[in-house]
Amino acid sequence: AAAEPRCPSCAAGAERRLLEEAAKRQLLEKLRLRERPRLSHVVPRAAVARALRRLQAGGTRRGPDDDDRGYEIISFAEPEPMSSSGLGLQFQFSHTQDQDIHILQAQLWLYLRVPQDMVASLTLRIFLAGEEGDLVGGNRTLLSERQLSAKGSGWHAFTLTPAMQRFFGGRRRTLRLELESHGDRGDITAIVNASWSHQPFLVAKAKVWDPGHHVAKR
C-alpha cells in the first residue's frame, strides 16, 4: 500500500465500506437473521400499503407483555385450490430451530364482499388444516367460529390467539374458511386474489425467547 500513490478519497472509501459492512452485520444480528432474506415471491405493493393503512387506522395496542424485543408479523394469504368445503388460505412462517417464538396475539383480516345496501348474517368458521394441506374432511382443527353481521363490503378482523401457537410449529400452514350465509342470498364472498389489493392477511404479535430464558412462576 505504501508503494501506491496516495489518493485523498481512498481512506474515505475504505471507511465507507467498513461502516456499510458494520451496518449490515449489526442489522442482521439484531434481526436474528443469518443472511439477508431472498424473497420467494413478491407481494403486491397495493396489498402491503392497504394492510399497513388498515393496521395503522386500527391503532397498535401494546400489552403488558410487549417490550422492545417484540415483533409484529404480517403474512399475506396465498389461495389454496378451491374445494367443496370452503376457502383455503395458505400462510408461510419459518424460523430457525434455535428460536422459540411465542405468539402474544393474532388476527386474521378478511375482506368480505357484500352487495350494496344489504345486511348479511353470516357464520364464519376458521380451521387449521394439516401440515401438507390435508383439507377436505381430514385432519383439521376448528380455531374459531364467529357469528357476524356485515353491512356492505369491508374488512373484518378475527382473533385467533390461543391456537396460533401451533402455526409456528410447521413450515407451511393452511387456514380453511367456511362462510355460511343465513339469508337467501348466497353471493357473499371473501376476497382471495393474489394480485388484488384486498388480499387477506394475518397479523401476529410475537416474541422470540432466547434459549435458556427462564420465566419466573408466580
Binding site: E20, A23, Q26, K30, R36, P37, R38, V48, D68, Q92
Partner: protein
C-alpha cells in the same frame, strides 16, 4: 453532544448514514430507507473527561478527580456512547411476510467520556 469537526481531536460523535439503496437492501427493508450508523471517536484527556457534558456518568467525574490529584489510579477514559435510541424496522422475511420490530440502542445520539 459534540459532533466531530475537522479541528477537534476530543471525544465527539461522528455521523454516517448508510442508504439501503447503496447496499442493495432496499428490496427487503421497507422502512426506514437507511440507517444512521453514528459512532464515538476522539480523546478523553483528564481535563476534558470530567467536565460537565462530557462525563458519561458521575463515576467519570470522580475518577478524573482522583487521577488529577495523582492518587493511584490506573486506566483512562474512553469516548463511548452515552445516549442511544431504538430503530424501528419494517422488512420482508424470506417468506414475504412483513415483520415490524423495534431494535433498542441502535442509533448513537450522544457521546461522552467513560
Amino acid at each position: 453532544s459534540l459532533r466531530c469537526s475537522q479541528n477537534s481531536n476530543f471525544c465527539c460523535r461522528k455521523d454516517y448514514y448508510v442508504d439501503f439503496r447503496d447496499i442493495g437492501w432496499n428490496d427487503w427493508i421497507i422502512k426506514p430507507e437507511g440507517y444512521q450508523i453514528n459512532y464515538c471517536v476522539g480523546q478523553c484527556p483528564t481535563h476534558v473527561a470530567g467536565s460537565p457534558g462530557m462525563a458519561s456518568s458521575f463515576h467519570t467525574a470522580v475518577f478524573n478527580l482522583v487521577k488529577a490529584n495523582n492518587i493511584q489510579a490506573s486506566g483512562h477514559s474512553c469516548c463511548v456512547p452515552t445516549r442511544r435510541r431504538p430503530l424501528s424496522v419494517l422488512y420482508f422475511d424470506r417468506n414475504s411476510n412483513i415483520v415490524k420490530t423495534d431494535i433498542p440502542d441502535m442509533i448513537v445520539d450522544a457521546c461522552g467520556c467513560s
